[in-house]
Amino acid sequence: MNFLSEHRFSRRSWLAGMAAMAGGLARGNTPSDKQLLLIWLDGGLSQLESWDPKPGTRFGGPFRSIPTSVTGIRYSEMLPLTARHADKIAVVRNMSTQDNSHSAGVARIQRGDPKNRGVDYPYLNVAAGRWLGPKAAGMPASMVIKPGNGGFLVSETGFLGARHASLALGDGKPPPLLDRSADITAAEDDARLSLRDTLDRIGAKARGSSLAVANSETYRLAETLRSRRDLFDPSRLDAKSVERYGDWDLGRHILQARGLLEAGVRIVKVISYGWDSHGDHFNGSMSLMPKLDRPLSALLEDLSARGMLDHVLVVVFSEFGRTPRINGHLGRDHWPEAWSVAMAGAGIIPGQAVGETTADGVEVKGQAFDIGHMFHTWFAALGVSTSAVHYEQNGQPLPLAHEGTHAVRALLRRPPEHAK
């Protein structure tokens, strides 16, 4: 089956097919209940002020480390609430990746591309959506919550094409123009949708454009979303929960993401901007880190209490870490050489810190992991075998995750055979 063909089929039949296939791919040959929540801190979270503190060293900065709920594992004092949930978290401290610019790093980390494979791979949320499909009938496979504008994020889809694009809720609000105009009846709307589908099919045949397919499916998706607009309306968030998660965009968006997962959205990515702290970094950390700490700890508490950590994989990551060296603007610059990601749930072994860095945080000590290792690991946690399935692009098989890397055995309760 060529997933990149312009063959047109109804969204429902396509979704059903994908779900069935993904179910077959999942362990146990049962429809997968796995879900994914990505928290993307755009700009680059400092490993030294979060998961891998080095107090008292020349690059350690002004802050302390604090004990966590796991004996022997310490986080930065910037994460006091999350530290209470370290028993639910696995931190990988030996990340060493390739790009020290945003322009390359943002895409390559999210595409799982440790070396440029010469192919425009889909972002993790799109790729996971492609393999797992929708979880609940009518709900989209993948959604994004981000500050600013919403819409379909076509640029994330790579060679999979626009119809796999995640729907982004700008500032957590419902998609624009979601509601049917009061000027037309439901019957008239149906007729318009039918006409649009017909024209899109003709257009897709003529132009070979996956955008036409995506356009048509957008309108179908809107039908579903209208009936669940409570999920997409930040004004309907429970006030007590908003207080627990934090009344700022990252807090509200993580809370909203929890609701989307509960409603059956398979994959949610929450994007937060403003982490590129080249200047006044330490004052910035004192302002920024609590805005992550509170909602992340509330999320872990809630997912755990609701039994959702059994099947929801949570990943907190960025395009790189930040330099140990402190610049003349009291900032930290871009550092892909030795940094950290954190994850929880869905068969990730919690309560550990995998890998380590040198005492001053400059180098990875021992084995280093690139983003390809994480993609193998995360797909394995989601029940998708990176050795058994592959993409096809115009007849050419393409691996889900880079062949030069492997799943990290130490992170997985049920590691695949290729894990090391």
């Binding site: 002004p62 302390r64 020290n100 200047g279």
Partner: protein, 335 residues
């Protein structure tokens, strides 16, 4: 007002990065990222190393010099300490639960004022460390200054508030100075970073920056000259958003305000601010300045970070190792 002519002297390279600078008479003290303060004596217009003060943790974020070689300081982990001749005199562990940012000695040298992120002003006996008064003010307190007559203090915060407190620790007044604070996405940016009482305590200089962005942090350095009651006398921007924050200041004996501003790595200036207009009358480019101390009427010392301090990814030193930055203490003549 006569326009000052600044001229740099041979800089002194320090062995690590420093967070703050304080002086009294011929004594200078610089607080390090390594929890150690370095002492220097000014002899024949040259700085001579005069020992170290150990015992603090994290960064030594603020220092204040008293009489007879007494130096007090505090750190980013809430500890405070004093030394005489480099030997510990007293120590207050965990005086604050968090970052203590500013220290200032009363003009008579008897009282140490400390303020920081927990929003509390603390007054301590300089010679014993005993608490004399505590005043919860709120906000993240980033600037602190005793009046010249020693009867009051001004305390400034992240959100642009100034509180006037009596020498005994009683609140007298508070007012807002607009333009020093902004919320950019998740980040609260800005703050009044400098407060300095001018001649006769008739003017209070408040300086910091007008924030433009978070993250990268771009901010336009700014100074506001205030009457003691908070009325704005003059307000002036001291550059562009690349120039960042006014981080340290001192009134020159001839009645003008010296300010250092530091922004994007490699930028930075020492300004002579005209008290009649609030605008710079003269300036000297100085790379990455963070601290300032005057050594009489004809000498200033500026604490800076070395040039070429930034860079993404691995920046190697000449031996192929990972290069650390360091501070530089530069003397500048004023004529």
């Amino acid at each position: 007002m006569k326009t000052a002519v600044f001229k740099g002297l041979k800089p002194l390279n320090l062995d690590s990065q420093m967070a703050c600078l304080a002086s009294r008479g011929d004594l200078l003290a610089a607080g390090g990222f390594d929890g150690v303060a370095r002492l220097f004596r000014l002899e024949s217009r040259e700085l001579k190393e005069a020992g170290t003060c150990s015992g603090l943790s994290g960064w030594v974020t603020c220092l204040a010099c008293g009489e007879g070689g007494l130096v007090a300081g505090a750190d980013s982990q809430g500890n405070a300490m004093a030394w005489r001749g480099g030997k510990p005199l007293w120590s207050r562990k965990a005086l604050s639960p968090t970052w203590l940012r500013k220290a200032a000695t009363s003009p008579d040298g008897a009282t140490l004022a400390l303020a920081g992120r927990d929003g509390t002003l603390r007054l301590l006996a300089m010679d014993s460390g005993a608490t004399r008064a505590e005043l919860p003010i709120g906000d993240d307190l980033m600037a602190l200054a005793w009046s010249r007559d020693g009867k009051k203090l001004a305390v400034g915060g992240l959100r642009g508030g100034v509180t006037i407190v009596g020498a005994g620790g009683a609140k007298q007044a508070s007012f807002e100075v607009p333009g020093f604070f902004k919320v950019v996405r998740l980040q609260e940016v800005g703050g009044i970073r400098v407060l300095e009482w001018g001649p006769g305590d008739s003017v209070l200089a408040a300086a910091g920056a007008e924030p433009v962005t978070g993250g990268f942090v771009e901010a336009i350095p700014k100074v506001v000259l205030l009457a003691p009651g908070g009325k704005v006398l003059h307000e002036s921007k001291l550059g562009t958003e690349k120039d960042g924050f006014a981080l340290a200041g001192a009134w020159h004996p001839e009645g003008w305000l010296a300010l250092v501003v530091s922004g994007q790595p490699g930028s930075g200036k020492l300004h002579q601010v005209d008290p009649g207009t609030g605008k710079p009358a003269g300036s000297l480019a100085v790379v990455n300045p963070h601290g300032l101390a005057l050594g009489g009427a004809d000498l200033a010392f500026v604490l800076t970070t070395n040039a070429n301090s930034s860079g993404n990814g691995r920046v190697k030193d000449d031996k192929g190792g990972y290069r650390a930055n360091h501070s530089v203490l530069s003397g500048i003549t004023i004529s």
